[in-house]
Symmetry: C2
């Protein structure tokens, strides 16, 4: 039974869809059918929301490892993480059964549900979402154990992220808001069916499994020498074939995908990853 | 004669197209035909570029009024503005004949040339650009005298802005870079023809004239109660007809354009204007 559900917006202060959805629902607009779930709705990083920035000192969504939570770091987000771990967690022995953390991306990832483990709960959730919202993407990040992820949602016994784009940081788009609302409501519909034990048997569905980060090529000074090729830009979750162009260099040459497997790029040209020169992440496609 | 031309990138530190174009040209890649112009190429706000933010303390592109330049304000950008006024200006008695300042917008404005006065120089420039790059938009902001604008480019005897989008802040897109490069090169081709007195007689061209800023509707607490309607989003410089939807309210209702004239919205949902609740700017369309 999912007795305690938390819906979080504003973990990053300039990702507006979740902030508005939480505000809207806090203002008495939570659809009637979800009220029995009594979800806790919370705007997480109010200082970052106020300043319309991703974070004040450090990325809040990278603070939730056991190591970081044990340190007594003074950054605003490190302190906030310890508070959140007390009130929503504690991680590993949580008072919250299920945490839904809502994000935006500047990449054209549409409505993406990010799950962090392949247990029965997450497999059922993935199939349910894909069945009711076929346009949604399911992304599985299980390159490490659930407890080892640094993400806020892992303070819950179960935790997922809603990741919707493309939307520039600080901008609020109607189409992106509608996708965010639809995906979040679909997850809550799953919670109702899960608690009522009325989940249908559903066939395996398409799931993208996170591979690795691919970085921009840089010169000896660390400056980028290339940009995302226009044929890759905005094509998140579309197959990238061996030999297809990936980067256009400023000298006019092209760099192609030199591996011999098809991959599914996502987080293509995400603004928040630009400072670390991450160009995109790879994924493989499977049935789960 | 345009004897001294300055090409500026990074006036806003997270507007990447101009930063890259200036870097590229500084690295010996300025096309051969422009070398006789000996343009000065400058990355303006290096602290903001380094931090990948619009500005450190205050918007640099709002500092160049006589009033602000006379004040001894301590903000990083106020100090930088006084330095730039000394080295590129001084405003009103400038050592620089023509300043081209390159910007990005998150709005779908394509390649837009912003001119600030309707004198012979700017009219010829507008016609030349529109003739050689028909997909470019010309936007005239002459709601105040040239000298009264707060923009950096007004430190030059003549000054214009290149404004290209849509591109999220901090992101670098190939398509937007290509538009930026093409528009800037077209302006430099104009400079060559202007100096050689080989400008052709060109017919008047379409020019958008800035009207007013339209703000999001807010409640008594100052919170927005509506978003840009999906039928307006991304339709910069397309005609908005009387009665057409402009805002979708969070309560499900719509707000329509209630004036009886057609206007041409632009800077629709621009991220940098979100904190002041500016939803878009209006323009009228004329021949110049």
């Amino acid at each position: 039974m999912l007795n305690s559900i938390a819906i979080l917006g504003g973990t990053h202060g300039n990702e507006t869809s979740g902030i508005q959805l939480v505000r809207h629902w806090q203002n008495g607009n939570l659809p009637e059918r979800f009220r029995a779930l009594q979800p806790e709705m919370r705007l997480v990083n109010s200082a970052a929301i106020e300043a319309n920035v991703r974070y004040v000192d450090d990325d809040l969504n990278r603070q939730f490892t056991a190591h970081r939570l044990e340190q007594q770091c003074s950054e605003a987000e490190a302190q906030l993480a310890r508070q959140l771990n007390q009130t929503l967690g504690p991680k590993g022995n949580s008072a919250t059964d299920f945490v839904i953390d809502i994000h935006n991306t500047t990449s054209e990832m549409g409505a993406t549900l990010i799950i962090l483990q392949q247990d029965e709960f997450n497999i059922q959730l993935a199939r349910f979402v894909k069945h009711h919202m076929p346009e949604a993407n399911i992304l599985l990040e299980d390159d490490k154990a659930y407890s080892e992820h640094p993400y806020l949602c892992t303070v819950g016994k179960q935790g997922v992220m809603v990741e919707v784009g493309g939307q520039p940081q600080g901008v609020f788009r109607e189409d992106i808001f509608q996708l965010t609302q639809t995906l979040t409501e679909t997850i809550l519909d799953f919670c109702i069916a899960y608690n009522a034990q009325t989940l249908p048997e559903l066939a395996p569905c398409d799931v993208f499994i996170l591979g690795e980060n691919i970085c921009f090529p840089v010169d000896e000074t660390g400056a980028r020498i290339a940009m995302i090729h226009h044929s890759l830009q905005d094509n998140d979750f579309q197959p990238l074939l061996p030999g297809a162009p990936v980067f256009k260099c400023f000298d006019g040459t092209e760099i192609t995908w030199d591996q011999d497997t098809v991959i599914y790029p996502h987080f293509i040209n995400e603004a928040a990853y630009a400072t670390t020169h991450v160009a995109f992440a790879t994924a493989s496609l499977t049935k789960l």
